[in-house]
C-alpha cells in the first residue's frame, strides 16, 4: 500500500491556472474525498496523480517515491473515470482484464482475478457483453472492477456515481466504503455530491478555483466550515444565512434577530460592530412556544415533508426567510404564526467582507503548503 503526496503542484492551461501551488498528502489506506464545484480542478488533480497529464511545477510522490516524471503505466494506480471510459471493442471481461494483461498474468490467474472482482461487484453474468450492451449501472461497475482488479495501492475514483441513476447511486454509496476499506487502498475520490463526500471520506478536501479551501473530517467540514461558500455547499436544506451586526451586553456577545437578542457562545469579541453573516443550520432551529426566552416570532409560509424530515419555510417580521428542519413525526407549527429558537452554540458567524468564518481554528492555509 502507499501514501500519496502532492507538493506545490501548479497546472496551467494557456493563461489559466487550474491548480495553484497545491499541496496535499493522503495517508496510506485513507479515503480522501475531493469535493467542489465543476472547474475547481478536482479532475485535473486526479489526472496528475494518474500521470496522464504533467504538472507545470511541483512534485508528486506515491509511496514516498517521486513519480512526477514517470509515465502513467509505471505508477501502479487504478482509476475509474466519470464517463466510465470502457473500451468499446472489448467485452466486459477483457475490459476488466486489461490491468492483469499488462502484468502478464497467466490466463488462469486472469480469469480468477476478473471473476472474483466481478462477483464482488455483481456483474459476473454480463462479462461476455460488450459495453454497448451494458446498462449504465453495469458500465459503472465494470469501470470500477477494472480499477480494482489489479489491487492497485492507490485508487483514483473520478465521480464514478455521477452518471448512474439515483437508486444505484444510493446503493453504491452504502457499498463503496466497505469495498474500499476491504481493499486497504489509498483512495482519492472526486465528487460534487456532498452526501457522497460525507459518506465516503475519511477526510474531505473542499476545492475551489484550483486551491483547497478546507481540509478536514466530514464532521469538521460540516460543523466548522471555513467560509460561507463551504457552509452553503454542505447540508440539505441549505444553511440559513442572515446579515447581522454583533453587539455586546452584560451577558456577552449577541446578535439581533427580529429585535430578539440571541447570545452566541464562542470567541466572538472582535466581531462587535462589524458586518457579519450568521449561519444557522435548519436542524439547529426549533419551534418553541410563545414566551420562551429569545423566541423569534415568525410566520409559517410553506412546509415540505421529506419523509425522514420536515422542512418549513418561515418568514420573520422583517421579511427574512428562514428554513427550519425537524425530524418527521415531531411536533411543529404547520401554519400561521409561530416562534422559533436559535441554538447559540451551533450558530456560525462569518465575516461579511471576505466570507471567512470567524473564530475558525482549523482553516488550513494550503496555498504555501504550510498548515497555519
Amino acid at each position: 500500500m502507499a501514501s500519496l503526496e502532492l507538493r506545490n503542484v501548479v497546472k496551467r492551461y494557456k493563461s489559466q491556472t487550474v491548480l495553484d501551488n497545491l499541496s496535499l498528502s493522503v495517508a496510506d489506506g485513507e479515503t480522501l474525498v475531493l469535493f467542489g464545484p465543476s472547474g475547481a480542478g478536482k479532475t485535473v488533480l486526479l489526472r496528475l496523480v494518474a500521470g496522464v497529464i504533467d504538472p507545470d511545477e511541483g512534485k508528486i510522490f506515491i509511496g514516498g517515491e517521486d513519480m512526477t516524471d514517470l509515465d502513467a503505466e509505471f505508477r501502479g494506480v487504478g482509476m475509474a473515470f466519470q464517463n466510465f471510459a470502457l473500451f468499446p471493442h472489448m467485452t466486459a471481461f477483457d475490459n476488466i482484464a486489461t490491468p492483469l494483461q499488462a502484468k502478464r498474468s497467466s490466463q488462469s490467474a486472469m480469469k480468477a482475478g476478473v471473476e472474483s472482482v466481478a462477483k464482488l461487484l455483481k456483474i459476473g453474468h454480463v462479462l461476455s457483453h460488450k459495453p454497448r450492451a451494458l446498462s449504465n449501472g453495469q458500465k459503472q461497475r465494470t469501470a470500477l472492477a477494472r480499477a480494482l482488479v489489479g489491487s492497485p495501492p492507490v485508487l483514483l475514483l473520478d465521480d464514478p456515481l455521477r452518471n448512474v441513476d439515483a437508486k444505484l447511486r444510493f446503493e453504491m454509496r452504502l457499498e463503496l466504503p466497505r469495498l474500499l476499506a476491504d481493499r486497504g487502498a489509498t483512495v482519492v475520490y472526486v465528487t460534487q455530491d456532498y452526501k457522497e463526500a460525507m459518506a465516503l471520506g475519511d477526510r474531505i478536501a473542499v476545492m475551489s478555483q484550483g486551491v483547497i479551501k478546507q481540509l478536514g473530517t466530514p464532521e469538521q467540514i460540516y460543523r466548522e466550515p471555513a467560509n460561507i461558500e463551504i457552509a452553503r455547499l454542505f447540508g440539505d436544506p441549505t444553511i440559513n444565512l442572515l446579515d447581522v451586526k454583533p453587539s455586546r451586553d452584560a451577558k456577552g456577545i449577541y446578535v439581533g434577530l427580529s429585535n430578539v437578542q440571541v447570545h452566541l457562545t464562542g470567541a466572538y469579541d472582535a466581531t462587535v460592530g462589524r458586518d457579519c453573516v450568521i449561519g444557522l443550520r435548519p436542524e439547529a432551529l426549533r419551534f418553541v412556544d410563545e414566551g420562551t426566552s429569545a423566541a423569534i416570532p415568525v410566520t409559517v409560509e410553506a412546509e415540505t415533508p421529506l419523509n425522514e424530515k420536515i422542512v418549513t419555510l418561515v418568514r420573520t417580521v422583517r421579511g427574512r426567510e428562514i428554513l427550519v428542519s425537524r425530524p418527521a413525526g415531531t411536533a411543529g407549527q404547520t401554519e400561521g404564526r409561530a416562534h422559533i429558537a436559535v441554538d447559540g452554540k451551533s450558530a456560525l458567524l462569518f465575516d461579511r467582507a471576505n466570507g471567512d468564518r470567524i473564530g475558525s481554528k482549523n482553516v488550513v492555509n494550503l496555498r504555501s503548503g504550510e498548515a497555519a
Binding site: V52, D71, N83, A85, L86, P88, T98, A102, R146
Partner: protein
C-alpha cells in the same frame, strides 16, 4: 413504420428508377459496348439487340489488337497489373506513414503541428501539372523517372494527405479518456495505439484507404508524364486504343470494364465496414 399511400409508393418507385437509370446508364452502356464490335457500336441508330462477341476481351488478354491497318501489340494486362501494383503499394505506404502521423497530429499538439498538417493538405491544392514539370526534372536527375519507386513516391501526394486528414478526424473522435484508461492499466503508449486507437479508428482507416485507392487508381497525369509504356497504369494505357486507323470503342469499353472491376469489388466489399464505422460514431457515449 412510415405511413404511405399507394400513390406515394408508386411515385417514389418511379423516382428511384429514374435515378438508378440515370446513374447506371453509362456503366450499362459501356458493358454492352464491350461485347460488340466497332461496326455494331457505330451503327446509326444504336440498337439494343446485338450478337455478343468476346473478341474485345480476347484481344485485351492476349495483347493482340487487330485493326484495319494490321495487328498491334497492346500491353493492357501489363497496364492492369501496373495499376494494381501502384495503387496497392501506394496506399500501403501511405497507410504505414499516414496513420501514425494522423495519430500524432490528433493526440499531440506540438509546436507547428497544425502547420505541418496543413502543408501536407496543401499538396492537394496545387494543380498537378504545376508540380509535375519540376518534378520530372528532379526525377530524371535522381534516376527516379520511370521507376515504380518514383511513381509510388509521387502517388503519396494523392494518398498521404487524404489518409492523414480523414484518419486524424477518427482518432480525434476517440475520447482521450479511453486511451488514458489503457495507459493507467499499465500499457505502453505503443500498446495503446495498437490495441485501442487502431481498432477504434479501424472503419475510418478502411474508408480513407479505400478512397486513397480509388484516387490512386484513377490517377492519369502523374503516370502519363513520369512513366513509360511498361510502367503505365490502365488510365494511361487506354490511350493505346486511339490508333491510327480509328478509335477502338469495343476494346476501350472492355478495358474500362476490366479496370473498374477491382475498385468496384473493393468498394462493395468495404461498404459494410464503412456503414459500421458511421453507425459506431453515432452511438458514441
Amino acid at each position: 413504420m412510415e405511413h404511405t399511400s399507394l400513390l406515394e409508393r408508386i411515385l417514389r418507385g418511379i423516382a428511384l428508377t429514374l435515378v438508378v437509370i440515370f446513374f447506371m446508364f453509362p456503366i450499362v452502356w459501356i458493358l454492352m459496348m464491350s461485347f460488340q464490335t466497332n461496326e455494331t457500336i457505330l451503327r446509326i441508330p444504336p440498337q439494343l439487340v446485338f450478337k455478343p462477341t468476346l473478341a474485345n476481351y480476347t484481344a485485351l488478354i492476349t495483347g493482340k489488337l487487330t485493326t484495319a491497318a494490321g495487328t498491334l501489340d497492346i500491353a493492357f494486362m501489363r497496364n492492369l497489373w501496373n495499376s494494381v501494383f501502384l495503387s496497392v503499394t501506394s496506399v500501403a505506404v501511405a497507410l504505414l506513414l499516414g496513420v501514425p502521423a494522423a495519430y500524432a497530429f490528433a493526440r499531440h499538439k506540438f509546436r507547428g503541428s497544425e502547420d505541418i498538417a496543413f502543408t501536407l493538405l496543401s499538396f492537394r491544392f496545387a494543380p498537378a501539372l504545376l508540380v509535375l514539370l519540376p518534378l520530372t526534372l528532379y526525377f530524371q536527375k535522381l534516376g527516379l523517372a520511370n521507376t515504380y519507386i518514383g511513381l509510388i513516391w509521387v502517388y503519396q501526394l494523392i494518398c498521404l494527405p487524404l489518409i492523414l486528414w480523414i484518419v486524424r478526424g477518427y482518432f480525434e473522435d476517440i475520447p482521450a479518456d479511453i486511451e488514458y484508461a489503457y495507459r493507467i492499466a499499465g500499457h505502453s503508449w505503443f500498446a495503446t495505439f495498437r490495441k485501442i486507437a487502431l481498432p477504434l479508428a479501424g472503419p475510418g482507416i478502411a474508408a480513407a484507404g479505400l478512397l486513397a485507392f480509388i484516387f490512386a487508381w484513377n490517377n492519369f497525369i502523374f503516370a502519363l508524364v513520369l512513366a513509360s509504356a511498361d510502367k503505365q497504369p490502365v488510365t494511361v494505357g487506354a490511350l493505346a486504343f486511339i490508333t491510327s486507323s480509328g478509335i477502338q470503342y469495343g476494346q476501350i469499353s472492355a478495358a474500362i470494364v476490366l479496370s473498374i472491376t477491382p475498385t468496384l469489388a473493393l468498394a462493395l466489399y468495404a461498404q459494410r465496414y464503412l456503414v459500421e464505422g458511421l453507425s459506431l460514431g453515432a452511438v458514441k457515449g
